[in-house]
Amino acid sequence: MLTLTNLHKSFAKELPVLDSVNWSFTPGETTGIFGLNGSGKTTLLRLLAHTYLPGRGKITYHGEKLDKIKNYTSRVAFINSETRNLYRRLTGAQNLAFFKTLFKLETADSQIKEWLEELGILGAMSKQISTYSMGMKQKLWVVIQLLRDSEILLLDEFTDHLDQQSINFFKNKIYQHQNFQQKTVVYASRRIDFTKEFAGRVLTLKDGQLV
């Protein structure tokens, strides 16, 4: 259980982005967070990923504060719509090899090959990332992140550059995972239709509050 208690976050001396947010994300359930641009969705997800620290309040995972949990960050996959996560001058295969070492992935090459083939990017793996389209970069990045098999999946508008076929592919991989009941999935989007399609429960982030 990932629990937010009286969470508060502001940048510099500006108005708070998040103000007294309380919620518990339950494993085995996908929680959708809908909010307009600038409502604080990404900030909330980065707090859950322990990339940012809260100004006030706390976040706990199974009752322990995040900074007290050993290797918490390696239990979290934060997938955003940024297409700059990969190294532009490297090929797809070189990026994959690097991130396999960085994230200590032990997935068999045959399984990775199968996924890439289904997504239609296997043939492009020998090409430089700078020649990839936005969608191709996003597909490769999501594959790398999903292969980490993390306990917590934070999905931040990650469908932005993807076609419907790829979205369905990733949805299946997430929901049909054998350990889905142990996974906490949070999906954030500025589009209510996407949020409803992805998540069982939808919350709205407005004026720094989760309602």
Binding site: K9, F11, A12, T43, R46, A49, H50, T51, Y52, L53, G55, N71, T73, S74, V76, A77, F78, N80, E82, R84, N85, L86, Y87, R88, R89, L90, Q94, A97, F98, F99, T101, L102, F103, K104
Partner: protein
Amino acid sequence: MKDTFNILVAIIKRKTQQQFGIKILMAYFLMSAVFDLVIYFFTNQLVDQSNFSNMASGTNYFSFVVIGAIFSDFFATSTQSASSVLAHERASGTLESYLQSPYKLFTLLYISSLAEIMNSIIRTLFYLIIALFLGFNLQLSWQLVWVFLYIVIAILTFQNISIIFSALTLIDRRLNHVCGNIVTISIVLSGAFYPLTVVPEKIRFLFLYLPFTVTITWLRELISGSQNTFGILLSIVLLFVFTNVFARWVFYLCEGRSMKNGNILFH
């Protein structure tokens, strides 16, 4: 340990793959090294050698200045390598994946900055090998082994300083320029290009205890066959330990602060 080694290899490999025209770059480095040595060699003909003949650091200006120039060049590059890696990863958007990995950002930055200065390490060793034999007429002996051991520990010590600088840029990227100025001042005050004996005694203490002044003085003593080899090696190890502990402390402090400020990802 095995994992750290694996990630070190992966980062060096990635760096090599990213580097455009590595052969041309290496040829340029070696050529510039030869040009520098030629300039110092001819300058040596113009300098009054009596100022250097009694010094432990070498028998002529050439040997004195070459060691200083090589090390100061390396000092300038290496002490800013971690901030440069950090700036690059932040600007390209790849830092977020570092933060999600099982490794500490400190470890990844340390390893990445070592990979960043690989070219400089090769160039420095090339300079040193030529300079040692031309300037000091050194014979192959155990002393040479100690010199190289000393250089390796000094490189790691500079890396620690580099981490401290990068930690400061985590909080505010403008501090990068302040750190650049500190490096420049350290080199100017270090006596890399002139003997510290020419500095007025009243202000000499300002020069003597800077980390770079100390490391370069020890290196010169070691190269000239100092009797105190063990003492110098012990001192550089202690300096390494001190800077490493201090770097870790400063880094974790600044990392926490920038996570709190919410600017850790942005340059």
